[in-house]
Symmetry: C2
Subunit: 360 residues, 2 copies
């Protein structure tokens, strides 16, 4: 049998570590190394860095070129950032080495949504090097776009789409909480929105673009609103305490207009401990079409766990795909392939040496 | 711009007619003809045959070879039967002419489930002729397999999958009602199951195989049960009257065993007027995994309308696919592409002349 598929993980935070642990557990994959942006992590044993209680005998590396030279990966999983601009350098380095890249950077779920030139350049680079690139994640990448798209498949007509995702931020640390304005006064929240510090959800434009492209819709404009979710009660997590009158999270909505009507509405209130005020978390997709379709689940599909699983589950799909930039909407549906990943790659050649393939 | 994509419809019953009407409505598609198995329909104007209040100036044709010669289709939609054995001749004729085929014959959603040799032969024939073949439909093809597969994509582990579809047979005519034993006494129902007249749902083996193949599961055995749904009340539809004590439908279940546990459980009670006994129709998918995932919708996605839409919506997907036999699980997710279908076909060459392509 072919050698295991060597996987390099970029990022050793919560998401990168979760992905690395999944790679270790999946037959046919080999965790070939990890690269950390924080220099302080360099040299640390990889096992310890990703939260195992054993050493793996591989050091975490700070420099990506060094990591590539040491690990010879076939696939890289990027979990270092949210924005295309921050993700791009690493991705280009990886593609230039013929490595196939799966990133959970939110803007990479559909890079054409914010930077069509960058998307085209990444697509060209990937094709030139016989590599491939995919952005994925629970949201964007699954709940608010891919699932909605799939459900339109049963419709003869679609008038509008509405997706609501009510989730619980309680497991998340300071970076996420700050981006949602958790713990601020309502006035500070509004000032934070103005200043761009309270960003809310990153991904609406990507989800809207994925849906619009799948349906052939021309979107005229997108409206976003970020409102404070002001708590009536005390809400406590390991990372923050919200007093009554303070902000427990951000109600972020986006509406995409087409031919004068609200064609796509995405509603995403994110807060800590929603249950304390009786808010039930969950995902809900509604297609106003012929036939109408509604599907909902509670609680919400967990964002962290789900995103890590999606990234690893898409490895065989991306290894079977043509070179170039992909989105979740143009590859076969994700699936938890639980067998040996090598048996799932359609074109066996793609298991070969990346450098050799890039040279063809 | 290229000429519209010519579509031939096989079958002018309820499903074939619904598909033909959708083809007429979708920009970039042209309804090139229809072929009816019942000789009595031959010569009838196609518009009248599919329930329009206008003529289309094209006659319904009985002989498939004649229909091909007259209509020069790029794509054929087959809505003539449920079983692979009944579907195969027409499909082979179409593929031999280089026509891409989408069929709603239930067993064709995964022909390898009941006849791997036939599946392999169809795959070879399609590849030889530069054609492609897909079986689709709401069930099998979407609710009990594709959606479940997609939801496992967010899971690191999957222990078991359960899908329940409670639907309403009230819109259906005598053929469907007889296959579900509607109107029989419980004793006659059981005798009908024994004799194969009460078949219940056709599609469990296909859905199970699609799921198992997507997850890399080896299924050891499949158990099916068909139980009468005995009505406590009088249930009336345009096609049947069920008296109290008679059978209102069939509770058909299938369980797929793997490593000694029930890995896949499919529950599909089909009956007329379930609401008269307070039964709420709907679809429900439950993944027992890490994380667990549950998604449900009520009422159920309508089978007839949804199947017709899926077949037409998959046209651009199949035209963009490589030659060969496909399943819903190996193509990109379905989507209601509402723009011009010609703009959705990735490889423009595939819009060319089928005969020419077959000769390559």
């Amino acid at each position: 049998m072919d050698a295991p598929i060597r996987v390099l993980v970029l990022g050793t935070g919560q998401m990168g570590s979760a992905m690395a642990r999944l790679v270790l557990a999946r037959p046919g994959l080999e965790l070939a190394g990890a690269c950390a942006r924080r220099p302080g992590r360099a040299g640390m044993d990889l096992g310890r860095a990703i939260g195992l209680d054993r050493e793996l005998g591989l050091p975490v590396v700070h420099d990506l070129t060094e990591a590539l030279a040491q690990s010879h990966p076939r696939v890289a999983l990027q979990a270092t950032c949210s924005r295309l601009a921050e993700a791009r350098d690493e991705i280009e380095t990886l593609l230039r080495h013929g490595v196939r890249v799966i990133t959970i950077a939110e803007e990479m779920a559909c890079p054409a949504a914010t930077d069509p030139d960058a998307a085209a350049a990444l697509d060209r680079l990937a094709r030139d090097r016989g590599a491939a690139l995919l952005g994925t994640g629970i949201n964007p990448g699954f709940v608010m776009d891919l699932l909605a798209i799939a459900l339109t498949g049963v419709c003869a007509e679609v008038r509008s789409i509405r997706v609501e995702r009510i989730n619980d931020l309680s497991p998340y640390g300071p970076t996420v909480l700050e981006s949602q304005g958790v713990g601020l006064s309502p006035a500070a929240f509004r000032a934070g929105v103005e200043a761009g510090r309270v960003a809310g959800h990153v991904g609406f434009r990507q989800s809207i673009r994925l849906i619009a492209d799948a349906l052939g819709w021309a979107i005229e404009r997108i409206e976003e609103r970020r409102e404070p979710i002001v708590s009536a009660v005390r809400r406590e997590t390991p990372f923050v305490t919200v007093e009554p009158g303070q902000v427990a999270g951000c109600l972020h909505t986006a509406t995409a207009w087409r031919e004068g009507t609200a064609a796509i509405t995405l509603v995403h209130p994110q807060q800590v401990r929603p249950g304390l005020e009786g808010v039930v978390t969950g995902d809900r997709i509604e297609i106003d079409g012929s036939p109408p379709v509604r599907l909902a689940g509670s609680p919400e599909i967990p964002g962290g766990q789900g995103t890590a699983a999606l990234a690893v589950n898409m490895i065989p799909r991306l290894l079977s795909a043509a070179p170039g930039l992909h989105t979740m909407a143009d590859l076969p549906v994700p699936a938890a392939w639980l067998g040996d990943v090598r048996n799932r790659v359609r074109d066996r050649e793609r298991l070969g040496d990346p450098a050799e393939e890039a040279g063809r």
